[in-house]
């Protein structure tokens, strides 16, 4: 081929490339998900309220439902999820190696996990505001962190909790014995059998695990929090278009709560907005106006699919973590910004 011909080909290639950049974001992960017809979603699988195997054999919990929300957004069907339980130690490798498409596990957003020179992961918006707590048997009489001097403390290895514990104990100048377990399946039974004087993890996880103990009332959380743990959904940095899609599924759940869309009413509200052209904001959010879905590489009605599949953030919280559940967690920081919490969705425009 002549040099001019090569040049022409390169030009055409560049033009085609530009066209692709302008329209379909071209996410390799999303292409892969559509090809295989299901989303491969990593969950912990052993934390009540977040993700456990329910009585019917299906995964239940707020993390599991987030997977379903993403499947509903990408494939239009919340059942097309392959859940992959992974341990805290394996989760980032499973994601980086392409074994799973998405981590829906309590993963604290930190600098080194985010940075290109660190784990090079891509974090969505904060999904759950948490803090690291310490659980002790109430009968032990321990009320302050300082009283754990010299005592064994159970911790899951490979977690932020492990590092926070070391930091805080160093600050307090207190010697302690960390007992490092590969997963919660070993750490919590060891604690329950009395091997450790205390166990530390995110407060919500401690509450979740406690709900499965033989005698949940015999264990209490210390008033001190060791850290802030804003946890988010994680994807790889190499596919920014996919990270954006997941991010906006997260925003959809919050915006739906703010606008009052629920699993029960979203279809009816959409039908009403379709007729009433004055509901500009609702029409944009539900994909009646504009092409936000296409810009993200998702179907135009992805927000409808998400809310129809799992409800809004408030509904998710009440269903899996709220006062009516065995966990009995308060919304606290996890309320919407308009109600004194920290959750806010950027405008859908």
């Amino acid at each position: 081929m002549s040099r001019a011909g090569l040049l022409g080909l390169a030009l055409v290639g560049a033009l085609v490339g530009c066209a692709a950049g302008n329209g379909d974001p071209g996410s390799p992960t999303m292409a892969k998900i559509r090809d295989r017809g299901r989303l491969v979603c990593a969950v912990d699988g052993a934390v009540p309220g977040f993700s456990t195997v329910g009585p019917g054999g299906a995964f239940v919990g707020i993390d599991a439902d987030f997977c379903r929300a993403v499947a509903a957004a990408v494939l239009g069907d919340p059942t097309k999820v392959e859940f992959r339980p992974v341990t805290a130690g394996e989760r980032f490798v499973a994601l980086s190696s392409g074994e799973v498409d998405l981590l829906s596990i309590s993963s604290t957003h930190t600098l080194s996990r985010d940075a290109p020179g660190g784990n090079a992961l891509s974090f969505g918006p904060v999904f759950f505001y948490d803090g690291q707590g310490v659980m002790v048997p109430k009968a032990s009489g321990i009320r302050r962190l300082r009283q754990l001097a010299g005592k064994p403390i159970c911790v899951e290895s490979g977690t932020n909790t492990e590092l926070n514990l070391a930091d805080r104990m160093r600050e307090l100048g207190v010697a302690y014995q960390p007992l490092r377990f590969q997963s919660g399946e070993q750490a919590y039974p060891a604690y329950e059998q009395g091997r450790c004087a205390a166990i530390t993890s995110d407060s919500s996880l401690l509450a979740a695990k406690r709900s499965g103990f033989k005698d949940p009332a015999a264990h209490g959380l210390l008033p001190e929090l060791l850290s802030k743990e804003p946890s988010a959904k994680v994807t790889v940095q190499a596919d920014p278009a996919w990270a954006d899609a997941v991010r906006w599924v997260s925003h959809t759940l919050l915006q739906a709560e703010e606008s009052g869309f629920t699993q029960a009413n979203v279809e009816a509200r959409r039908a009403a907005a379709k007729k009433d052209t004055s509901q500009a904001e609702q029409r944009r959010f539900l994909g009646i106006e504009g092409d936000f879905g296409r810009q993200l590489g998702l179907p135009a009605d992805f927000t409808l699919q998400v809310v129809k599949a799992v409800g809004n953030y408030g509904e998710l919280f009440e269903r899996h973590l709220g006062p009516a559940t065995p966990l009995g967690l308060e919304r606290g920081l996890n309320r919407l910004w308009s109600r004194g919490g920290l959750h806010i969705a950027p405008p859908f425009r």
């Binding site: 805290a88 130690g89 980032f92 490798v93 980086s96 080194s112 996990r113 290109p116 020179g117 660190g118 784990n119 090079a120 001097a149 010299g150 005592k151 064994p152 290895s157 490979g158 977690t159 492990e162 590092l163 514990l165 070391a166 930091d167 104990m169 160093r170 302690y176 014995q177 960390p178 007992l179 490092r180 377990f181 590969q182 070993q186 750490a187 039974p189 060891a190 059998q193 009395g194 091997r195 004087a197 790889v236 940095q237 190499a238």
Partner: protein
Amino acid sequence: MAPVPPADPTPSPLSAAKLPAPKPPWWRDRRVVPWVVQAVVGLLVLLLIAFLLGNLIRNLTAAGLLLSWRWLQQPAGFDISESVIPFNAQLPYWRALAAGLVNTIRAVLVGLVGATLLGTLVGMASFSHNGLLRRLARVYVEVVRNIPLLLQLVFWYFVVFLTLPNGLAAIQLPGVVLAKSGLYIAGFGEGLRWMGPTLVNGVWQAPVRLSVEFGALLTGLIVYSGAFIAEVVRGGIAAVPKGQWEAASSLGLSWFATLRRIVLPQSLRVIVPGLNTQYISLAKNSSLAVAVGYTDLYSVAETTLNQTGRAVEVILVLLAAYLTLDLLISALMNGLNRLVQIRER
């Protein structure tokens, strides 16, 4: 009809040998073909390696993760409660990995000695005149070697060790205390003063402390490998001709003296190579320590990998460490093997 010229009646074998053999084509030449095959196989192996390496480097570059070892110098940030070499959270990752490696070696060394003793005793017991002892040895071997090691470790840890009493209720003997948190033994403490185990603020303290995690790992490894070693020893003893037993017995030697002085030394030739395999398995199996909360090399590496994100580098370190450990064991055992073989005089 033209007369047929008389054929040479007896062709001399000498002259036939002198005839140059027809040269076969190169693809049927025994001197060429093996070389060609080896070259092709070698090339394929090299291509495969090049492909895998290229793939690794290409993907790592795409992910912005080229091999780097700077993280080794950064502070680890996590604590290790049971370390032979001093360690704290401010020390760098390589010190954490070293502490883990020392913990692994400690478990492997004690495990090797324990499993060899147990295995030899059980192997000898299977030749005992005492039927009960013989059958007990069989039951032990068959039960233990047919249950996965991971299950056995979890059993020892959660069912046996974690049900020990704690605090004041702990099992107390003079100079020794066995509690839920570990085994405490009297020894020389600070300032070379003799110290017994004492209960301070609800926690036992003593100069020598072995955690229940170490205990569970060690018990699991010794009991599991002991069963396999018992079979190796049994095979070795069975390989010694029956005449040796009969000769010893005719000289009036007892069963035990026969075994110790005559049969066992001869059976070593068969036992040592088999032991090598078992020792290497034990060293590798020690990485199951993560299941029972013992901080070994694998456990430290897993945390390091998660905190630094340097998956390939950490796995390389792990591979190199276990490979070196196993090659070392293998080299020592091969040396021992040369010592016990029959030497022609």
